[in-house]
């Protein structure tokens, strides 16, 4: 290497790498960010099958069905309108996951229109609590849930 402008060369290499990282991040974030859907949004403008998204709403009354294996649950999630999204989840349910409670399901929409959840986030009060609220006290969580779930009663 020509020794004359070594510092300049180093700066350029570092800048290139950082800009490269930035571009990669921008591209990755546009493709991999996990969007939040309300049931009515998912009904009118569904995400691509298999794309990781989050679905938030209320567990419809009388919709929880446990399958014969004892660990797979099916239920419907509703929002402000009559739209209801069927959800399937295999795993340990959050404490006091009950009908009429709020829930955020992480997962993806299957080709058959059933939302397959890999993770359910709920808490033991009538407000559902997204991941960010895990571990907060009830009162704080209720306040935050009200702030973060605009347009949902």
């Amino acid at each position: 290497m020509k020794a004359k402008h070594q510092r300049l060369v180093l700066v350029i290499i570092a800048l290139l790498a950082i800009v490269g990282a930035g571009l990669l991040a921008a591209w990755g974030l546009r493709n991999q960010a996990n969007y939040f859907y309300l049931p009515e949004q998912m009904a009118s403008d569904p995400p691509a099958a298999g794309q990781a998204v989050r679905l938030g709403g209320m567990v419809q009354k009388g919709s929880i069905r446990t399958e014969a294996d004892g660990v797979t649950v099916n239920f419907m999630v509703t929002g402000n309108t009559a739209d209801a999204i069927p959800v399937r989840y295999s795993g340990i349910l959050p404490d006091l996951f009950v009908e009429g409670s709020g829930v955020v399901a992480e997962g993806s929409l299957g080709a058959d229109g059933v939302f397959v959840a890999t993770n359910l986030l709920a808490k033991h009060d009538e407000n559902y609590v997204p991941k960010e609220l895990e571990g907060m006290g009830t009162e704080q969580a209720a306040k935050m849930a009200a702030d973060t779930t605009v347009g949902l009663k």
Partner: protein, 661 residues
């Protein structure tokens, strides 16, 4: 009374920070080599300030230990029924207490620097202490004006409202103080970097002063992240060890910057190259600490770590962040040109490899930073997103893989300039290991790409880490070199654990009747029964699981689903069976209507290696500090002896000895 003493100590400490700042700044007015009369107060101010800040923290600790319910902070975060250890750790399990700990450690490290560091020129030291005082002052102001930990209640509360049960864990005793000490250690690195930049003293002597602080902070950050990861693993009951949670990222980013800084400081100390780059990383590392504190403490992120959602505090920390970081980068931009270029080196050299790794670390830092801030940015436009492993894993791997490959070769290269041909054997060995292991593992089954690459890299790196010892007498290898070897080996161990966890984990989820058995891998798990149990401040249902490996003697595991009553909350206590080659991880769920219990069991081969690796890395850092310090002590002793002998000779009036040609 204790609370008033604590508060008074804090105000006095803040006043001393002003004195330290002003007095330190006068050192800059002195001509090089001279001492300004007003600059002599900076060191004592820093030392006394350290004493006062620690005293304030001790007072709060005492209030928590005795559950002084007339203090607002104690009443809202503690409970007289809590075990003593969690009363104590609860001191920093809340916003105000944790900020007081932050400030206490900041003042303590400032005091240590002022009290014991005599190698730097007085001007540089004065500037450094001024910057340190300035940083401390901002945080005193934050504590005293926006989050006073010693606030009294008009009427003492009858009982405290308890501590978040997730935080009632021994992990909390270790994790935050180590991370904070690491963050704050980087503040000393920042002050030293600014001091050196202001007085144009960026040279190897400065790097040798900076190095132990960077190494120390880095060791503490490594331990803090390792402990935090293990805590999340067993306490959250989700079976994962890293979630790319914003709060985890907030601790990872300073670590990445500190790792880069540590290597660049070594180049500056050994070879007098990378001067401005080192200063830049010093500023960056502390910026990331501040950003981490801001993200975690301001409430912009809501998580188990965000104790107080208070926009005023968020704005205050953001203001401090802007002031320090903006100021530092302004000074950097103005002064960087005045720092003469260091020694040059060829692209293929140890410096070259270190620069490459520095750049890769910075790129990973950029990836993590953007991924962490992106949800905050989109929220401003009312779009809610969360960013998780599908983004972070591949994006960071793109830079981590070349970095790990160069890391395998780097320590084998010579300083200044080297020929790749000299390392033919080593390069072939590393390449063969990467390719061989990947081929061998893929032969046995289909595995995800990243864990597969991780396995190959881990094997190559483990061998490559030991190669610098080849052909040397092990007894004569310097302690600091041992540190490097062990730290690099630790990275390989941790990588192996991560890759095995990713590639070979087995999971079984089932509803089981009492007496029923489930098979996972070599293990037969029998649910013997479910019983209610009670602790000091919780009740739980507890499953008795008998685990038999290949039909051997049973081991009993007791996972619990706990319900705390103050504050009311439930947590899942996982039960772990640790073998040398992995862990069995069991969680109990709810009871189905037909009386069966949900049981979730994972077999995670070699998952423990992740944290063993972390501990090895930290141990390597410790050895490196020990090695450097002992060399420095020996050098000082030799210099002192030489001076003594010369003085003796002068006293005898003998002729000065002629150096042998």
């Amino acid at each position: 009374m204790t609370a008033e003493i604590g508060l008074a100590a804090l105000w006095l400490a803040a006043a001393l920070a002003v004195l330290q700042m002003v007095s330190g700044a006068f050192a800059l007015k002195a001509a090089p080599g001279e001492v300004n009369a007003l600059a002599m107060h900076a060191r004592p101010a820093a030392v006394v300030q350290a004493f006062l800040a620690v005293l304030a923290f001790a007072m709060l600790l005492y209030a928590f230990a005795t559950t002084d319910l007339s203090l607002k902070l104690v009443a809202s975060n503690s409970h007289s029924m809590k075990p003593l250890i969690y009363k104590l750790t609860g001191t920093w399990g809340n916003h105000e207490g944790s900020m007081l700990l932050w400030v206490g450690v900041l003042a303590l490290s400032g005091g240590l620097l002022a009290g014991f560091e005599k190698r730097l020129p007085e001007r540089t030291m004065g500037a450094t202490l001024a910057v340190q005082g300035f940083v401390a002052l901002g945080f005193y102001a934050f504590l005293l004006l926006a989050s006073n930990p010693f606030e009294r209640l008009p009427v003492p509360a009858p009982e405290g409202s308890g501590l978040n049960p997730l935080l009632q864990d021994i992990g909390l005793a270790i994790h935050p103080p180590t991370l904070y000490a690491g963050y704050v250690g980087l503040s000393v690195a920042f002050s030293l970097a600014m001091g050196a930049l202001l007085t144009r003293e960026v040279n190897p002597a400065f790097a040798r002063v900076l190095r132990p602080w960077v190494l120390g902070a880095w060791v503490l950050l490594t331990l803090g992240i390792t402990a935090g990861s293990y805590w999340a693993y067993y306490e959250l009951g989700w079976g994962g060890w890293w979630f790319w949670d914003p709060v985890e990222n907030a601790s990872l980013m300073p670590w990445l910057a500190a790792t880069a800084l540590m290597h660049s400081v070594s180049v500056l100390a050994a070879r007098d190259a990378l001067r401005t780059w080192t200063i830049m990383l010093g500023v960056l590392a502390f910026s990331m600490s501040m950003l981490g504190t801001f993200l975690v403490r301001s409430g912009v992120l809501t998580s188990v770590h965000a104790f107080a959602v208070d926009p005023e505090r968020g704005a205050f920390i953001l203001g401090l962040l802007g002031l320090y970081i903006g100021g530092a980068f302004t000074i950097f931009a103005l002064r960087a040109g005045a720092v003469a270029e260091g020694k040059r080196f060829a692209a293929v050299s140890r410096e070259g490899a270190l620069v490459f790794n520095n750049v890769m670390l910075s790129a990973i830092l950029a990836i993590v930073l953007l991924g962490t801030l992106y949800p905050l940015l989109t929220e401003a436009f009312d779009v809610r997103v969360s960013v998780g492993p599908p983004y972070f894993n591949p994006a960071s791997a793109i830079f981590a893989i070349p970095m790990l490959l160069v890391m395998a070769v780097g320590p084998l290269l010579r300083w200044r300039s080297d020929k790749p041909a000299r390392l033919q054997f080593e390069l072939a060995l590393i390449a063969a290991l990467v390719i061989g292991v990947i081929a061998l593992v893929s032969f046995f089954g289909q595995f995800p790409l990243l864990p597969l690459l991780g396995l190959g890299l881990a094997a190559a790196l483990a061998v490559a880490a030991l190669l610098p010892l080849r052909g040397r007498s092990l007894k004569r290898v310097p302690v600091a070199t041992w540190g490097m070897v062990i730290a690099h080996f630790g990275i390989a161990v941790a990588l192996f654990g991560m890759a095995c966890e990713g590639a070979f984990s087995k999971e079984r989820l089932a509803a089981v009747v009492p007496g029923g058995t489930e098979q996972i891998g070599d293990f037969a798990v029998t649910l013997e029964g479910v019983t209610p149990v009670a602790g000091p401040n919780w009740t739980a249902i507890e499953a008795r699981l008998a685990v038999r490996q290949n039909g051997g003697a049973p081991v009993i595991l007791t996972p619990q689903a706990r319900n705390f009553w103050s504050p009311p909350q439930s947590t899942s206590e996982s039960a772990l069976l640790t073998k040398w080659n992995g862990q069995l991880y069991a969680v109990i769920g709810q009871q189905a209507e037909d009386g069966r219990w949900q049981i979730r069991v994972w077999w995670k081969p070699f998952v423990t290696f992740i944290w063993y690796g972390g501990i090895l890395v930290a141990l390597g850092g410790l050895l490196s500090i020990a090695g450097r310090v002992s060399v420095d002590v020996r050098r000082r002793k030799a210099t002192a002896q030489g001076d003594q002998r010369r003085a003796d000779l002068d006293a005898l009036g003998a002729a000065a000895p002629v150096p042998a040609e």
